[in-house]
Symmetry: C2
Subunit: 511 residues, 2 copies
């Protein structure tokens, strides 16, 4: 069967898992019955546990769903310690449901899969050796990839039922009041982890910093926590800002960032009180710099900046150019450190950030959003999940969610090495073309034909290099040539959920 984007889907698999094929990006006004955890009542005394081994023994059973957060990204020291103990104790058939997986976790996940400890995974993404292994069929069941908003939705409606959440925190008191703002492993917002704390049946905090009771502000509350485990070190906050969040010095990236800024400034959305999300990755970070200059020039301030937050965004807040920073995750230590001192940097959970199934998420109020792409096709569908070789090497993150902005800009180089970014058909659709309004590459800007209003506005601007997306695709093809078609088996190794829970694409095993 095919969904509305003409992506071939396994009818059998969809039926087995009770999934609908993707139709469109409209959410509408359904009524959703939320779910809630089972709570083991206590006075709160006796939550302190000596060792990870003990708490794993106390909480886990075969077949359960376990979760972790990825706020410490490549600086996380918790995941491997806990998973190591779970493997040692010989649990089987677990579902791993973290907010995302980073490279530092890969070896341990692969070990757990090989040992039959992990048999199912749902995540925002995976990269490196784990992506390779899963793409080659290591995991017995298909991974389910969900956006940050999609994960929040799934947790809230029970599609993901977390039995035990293992959450690393830079501080906690003996009852579990905790935040991300103080201690050696400060990572700022606990945005994704707040979902786990609120909905998991059992919540285990792991910290290197047990502080006096009561610990406030309490992003995670004692009413949510079952156990507090003292560990040697939660993580290395200096390694939050690696990987997808490196700051660019690449002239091509800077050129794109400048063009992205031109698009924003000449759009109807650049006005007093506008809002934006720049995100992480490549050129996106540099946009904040150019945008700052434009805002000062035009005497415009923003009502809010959203999303994964970086130091340049926090600087805008400090300068008064941005009124509020709505912070679901901090992409570097500077942004993380800022949250403690700036009351206008508001911690938000993943539901508030992006859950499509609630009474309004921040992304629904977003004017301008800049996102990246591994590939974008002539229908403006975007792939941020699989590489040109078909291997899993990315993450949905908030891509599908933030793309609901009034103007979503994809910022990407036309080609990367010998690989085209603009292609006839993306390997994997993560975000549907109907959500994407503008593509900015270093050679030209393409506006989605659905947005004739934007096209008309940009045509008035001298010097904006407007092109069709077909022209950009052909330019890319002229540079790098036509790639050989990829070869896959019939086996589905991953299902790509759209944020509403429908299936927007599937990923097959590499032949």
């Amino acid at each position: 069967m095919k969904n509305s984007l003409n992506r071939e889907l396994s009818a059998e698999l969809l039926k087995e898992k009770d999934y609908k094929p993707f139709e469109n990006a409209t959410i509408g006004n359904p009524e959703i019955q939320r779910t809630a955890p089972t709570v083991r009542v206590s006075t709160g005394d006796g939550k302190l546990v000596d060792s990870i081994a003990d708490v794993v023994k106390k909480t886990l059973k075969d077949g359960m769903t376990i979760s972790f957060h990825h706020h410490l990204r490549e600086g996380d020291f918790i995941f491997n310690q806990v998973m190591d103990e779970i493997i040692k104790q010989g649990f089987k058939n677990l579902t791993l449901a973290p907010s995302s997986l980073t490279n530092v976790m890969n070896d341990k996940v692969i070990e757990a899969i090989k040992a039959g400890v992990i048999t199912n995974i749902t995540s925002s993404g995976m990269r490196g050796s784990l992506g390779e292994a899963v793409s080659h069929g290591l995991l017995p069941n298909p991974v389910i990839f969900r956006s940050h908003g999609g994960r929040a939705r799934a947790i809230e409606n029970g599609d993901i039922k977390i039995d035990v959440a293992f959450l690393g925190v830079p501080n906690a008191d003996r009852l579990g009041n905790a935040n991300g703002m103080e201690g050696d492993a400060v990572f700022g917002s606990l945005g994704y982890a707040l979902m786990d704390a609120n909905y998991a049946d059992k919540v285990v905090l792991l910290t290197d910093n047990v502080v006096d009771y009561p610990n406030t502000p309490a992003s995670i509350k004692q009413t949510q926590v079952d156990y507090v485990v003292k560990v040697d070190q939660v993580g290395d906050p200096d390694r939050i800002g690696t990987g997808a969040t490196r700051f660019t010095k690449n002239p091509k990236d800077l050129k794109i960032a400048k063009m992205v800024n031109d698009v924003i400034v000449h759009s109807p959305y650049f006005k007093q009180g506008f809002s934006f999300q720049t995100g992480s990755g490549g050129a996106a970070l540099a946009v904040a710099r150019y945008l700052r200059e434009s805002m000062i020039d035009k005497n415009i301030t923003a009502s809010f900046a959203l999303g994964g937050i970086t130091t340049p965004i926090v600087k805008l807040l400090e300068e008064g150019l941005v009124n509020r920073v709505m912070d679901v995750q901090d992409f570097d230590k500077g942004a993380a450190d800022s949250m403690k001192n700036n009351r206008n940097q508001q911690e938000i959970d993943a539901s508030w950030y992006a859950d499509p199934d609630n009474k309004g998420a921040m992304v629904d109020q977003l004017d301008v959003c800049i996102l990246s792409a591994l590939e974008i096709d002539t229908d403006f569908n975007v792939n941020v999940m699989t590489g040109s070789n078909g291997v899993i090497r990315g993450a949905v993150g908030g891509h599908q969610d933030a793309a609901t902005a009034k103007m979503t800009i994809i910022s990407a180089p036309l080609t990367r090495g010998r690989i085209a970014t603009v292609v006839p058909h993306v390997g994997t659709v993560v975000t549907p073309g109907e959500s994407i309004d503008v593509l900015v590459t270093e050679v030209g800007i393409a506006v989605n034909p659905r947005r004739q209003d934007l096209l008309a506005a940009f045509k008035q601007v001298p010097g904006l290099p407007l092109m069709t997306i077909e022209e950009l695709q052909q330019k890319a093809e002229q540079i790098v040539g036509k790639p050989k078609p990829l070869e896959y088996t019939d086996r589905v190794v991953a299902l790509m959920e759209y944020r509403d829970g429908s299936i927007i694409d599937e990923i097959h095993e590499i032949k």
Copy 2:
């Protein structure tokens, strides 16, 4: 049938409502399945509604359960406006489930009951004309009185299913992000209302102060709110501090307060890092003054002060004598105003404050608690609900909840006018004697025989007027004589829940 306190209960009524009789104050470690609201999904636009009439029409149906908070106490302007409109539109058979009812609401509740609009009530309490009317049989069904913690429990497990919550707030943005800290009607903590915001199917905010989006800090979040209604005036914060929260100048009250302080200071709990709740009412407020002097004298600071918060408590925080104020409600404007500026004054919801069915409430960590009483009997059972004439004229509040403190002190005059406070049997048991450790009156101090450890400690203290509670009861009787027994009908007008949901007593119609 009788419960463990020998209180006669209607077996038929308990069976009909699936209630258990009270056994004891121990909660234990049951597993509780939490409940969750049904959410009507939207982008969050279009929440602003012009009038109360419109929002009542959009949300209400016959037979529903509606709720309000009482944070503005006698200064509330919301309840009457909304209820007036509900009566006008002719809805029937509603259950009224506010966090509590204050005198300013009485006329409108009586009108609604007479019109058949309200047929069931659950509340923390009721006073004045409404208490009189209900005691004389006005309401067709028994009121269910619940403590603040008991209400949180009932909301979280579905015993109270709120269909529509009408919540007055001093500020909100157009999507419903709101707090209690800014605006003309500042009342500080939204502690009780946070339960309604989190669990009601439909949440309506009413505010006189629609502020720029996004409004932070957001105690109530846009993800919880369906409608925002602009009204002329939410309330008068100068009238929060009236009624049960007046500051005493009465010499007898001051004497009791001094004795309460002596008991605290000479107890084993008065040590570095101790915690306490003073509450509101009569002498309790004055205790904070004496306690301050003792803390300075002995160079002791408290880890936290809990509960309904007053200006004297906030001053202790400012002086560094208290490390954290854990604030479920502010009893006066000074305390309310302070929350905005002092990050160590932490807003907590009613569940965190006192819900017995969670993973640890603040009350479970409380060392010392001072509570008031209308009556206390020789078994140390306390009545804060019915007067000596049998009429409903009080509120459970956090009484049952905070009484779980390691040392709970009842502070009360031996007699009030021609009425004894210490009696052979209280008219209505609200808090069981097993929770009460010490009674302090102006003529003597009685220690619960269950607490031989405390008795032994206090015997070492020269000048503490220790007596048995029977001696105090006899002294009271010598002063005021034996009252005539009250006469009731067989009809039950109210059920008194213990915080665990069992029935600790029932209140009968006055003959």
